[in-house]
């Protein structure tokens, strides 16, 4: 059996700093937190969106609406994969009409999840704008999609894996590169 090698790319403190930077970039680009909302893509994106929300609250004193989006029903590989992933119900308890929606995801890879997320969002209303914030961009895009806010760009090879751990699940934040 081949052994897999894990390498830590980001630790807890680095992730924290990145999220602070992204939060400020969001506020700068949108000239404050008025009229924006955060939508976290299940599961990693939700934790990140919650943290960005808290940081916006700290700096601007504004509670921006936060929604949860599961993209399973919008995937384009449903006919290829045999195994269905567990679904977390989508919960967007506010109107996104005319809002600036910030989609939040942990890893940007092929861009297919982002495509699915945008299609899903359009079913919820007509946002003024959709922006994308990601913690890691690992390259290998298959669609013409680019993030507005990128935590860290990490060139990878296709057979490598990026694993993002969250305090909420594994007790510790970290980003790992796994080579098999």
């Amino acid at each position: 059996m081949k052994k897999s090698i894990e390498k830590e790319l980001l630790n807890e403190q680095e992730i924290e700093r990145i999220l602070t930077r992204i939060t400020h970039e969001i506020l700068e680009k949108n000239k404050g937190a008025e009229n924006i909302c955060l939508i976290g893509i299940v599961t990693g994106g939700v934790y990140l969106a919650e943290r960005i929300k808290n940081k916006i609250k700290e700096t601007e004193g504004i509670d921006v609406p936060l929604g949860i989006l599961d993209i399973s029903f919008y995937r384009d590989d449903i006919n290829i994969t045999k195994k269905r992933k567990a679904i977390k119900p989508t919960n967007i308890p506010f109107s996104i009409d005319d809002k600036k929606v910030i989609l939040v995801d942990d890893v940007l890879f092929t861009g297919r999840s982002t495509r699915a997320a945008m299609d899903a969002l359009i079913d919820f209303g007509r946002p003024a704008e959709i922006q994308l914030a990601v913690l890691i961009d690992r390259g290998h895009r298959e669609l013409p999609i680019m993030a507005n806010y990128t935590g860290k760009y990490i060139p990878t090879s296709r057979d490598e894996k990026i694993k993002v751990n969250f305090k909420e699940v594994s007790g510790k934040d970290s980003v790992l590169l796994i080579k098999t």
């Binding site: 269905r84 679904i87 989508t90 299609d119």
Partner: protein, 299 residues
């Protein structure tokens, strides 16, 4: 899993996966746009060899909400009346390249037969007196929604148990959880041999004591002529769920019915329309649950 033929073959984990997925679909049904593109380009056929309005419409709506193309095939308008066999009907349908077959048939085992002879995913919408798995799943989903759990509940099923595929599927499902099941009704309509977790009651009041959920079954009007019960009136008097029955029910006990109801036979009008009744919730949940089943099947 390619097909859903019965609850009997499912594990507790399978059931939990379906119920969990149904929760996500219930959210979809609450949106302004109640349709997702998930199964675009695929085709479903609803093969109903027995009359049905609600199960068929529920499946049809579930399929459309998943963006499936839908064909309906009812016995009255089909070649079956011209003598075509089930096998030949199936082969014809297969030639249309359908991906999902929903079948209701008066013969027990018909869904299994169809599943074994087609590459399409087959969903049993009721086969004879055998099973009606999606009804049991939507019942479980509805109980879970109201009670928050299945484990630890006492559930009474009242009425014509022996002829009911709904009761059978519910028995299989609830037995996979830590529940106490009670069958209540006239001796002629209750099974003689029962699993250990089932208690038998001939008296409604006694049987309903401490239960959390009451599932009423439809008394098929033709049973009266077959001498299972003396008369519908007498059935209502002894086993019908009436407003007075509330006095010996737990305060938070809920009342369910798979429909269609016979008001004044197994259920009084005031009971059907009371706040304890979750009958209409069952109908709504039927769509979400069937969407989940279709979504999870892969051939």
């Amino acid at each position: 899993m390619k097909d859903l033929i019965g609850i009997k073959e499912l594990s507790r984990q399978d059931i939990e996966e379906i119920l969990n997925t149904a929760k996500a679909f219930k959210e979809v049904l609450g949106r302004d746009i109640k349709k997702v593109p998930t199964l675009r380009g695929k085709t479903a056929i609803n093969l109903f060899f027995e009359p049905s309005t609600r199960t068929r419409t529920s499946f049809e709506l579930a399929e459309k909400r998943l963006s499936l193309d839908v064909l309906n095939f009812s016995v009255g308008t089909s070649s079956v009346v011209k003598g075509e066999t089930l096998y030949d009907t199936l082969k014809t349908i297969e030639a249309y390249n359908v991906d999902y077959i929903v079948i209701r048939h008066s013969c027990s085992g018909s869904a299994k037969f169809v599943a074994e002879h087609t590459p399409a995913s087959v969903i049993n919408a009721g086969d004879g007196t055998n099973e009606h798995p999606t009804q049991a799943l939507l019942d479980a989903f509805s109980i879970l929604e109201v009670k928050g759990r299945l484990d630890g509940l006492k559930i009474a099923i009242v009425g014509d148990i022996i002829h009911s595929r709904v009761a059978r599927s519910n028995l299989y499902l609830l037995s996979k959880f830590d529940t106490e099941i009670r069958f209540i009704g006239p001796p002629t309509l209750l099974p003689v041999e029962n699993p250990d977790n089932v208690k038998i009651f001939y008296d409604l009041k006694e049987g309903l004591k401490d239960v959390d959920v009451v599932m009423l079954l439809r008394i098929q009007l033709e049973r009266q002529n077959a001498a299972y019960i003396p008369s519908l009136k007498e059935y209502f008097k002894i086993w019908g769920m009436k407003k007075e029955s509330f006095s010996y029910l737990k305060d938070d006990a809920i009342i369910m019915h798979p429909g269609p109801m016979n008001r004044g036979v197994e259920i009084a009008t005031e009971v059907a329309d009371s706040s304890r009744s979750i009958i209409l919730r069952q109908v709504t949940n039927g769509i979400a649950t069937r969407m989940a089943v279709i979504y999870l099947l892969t051939s």
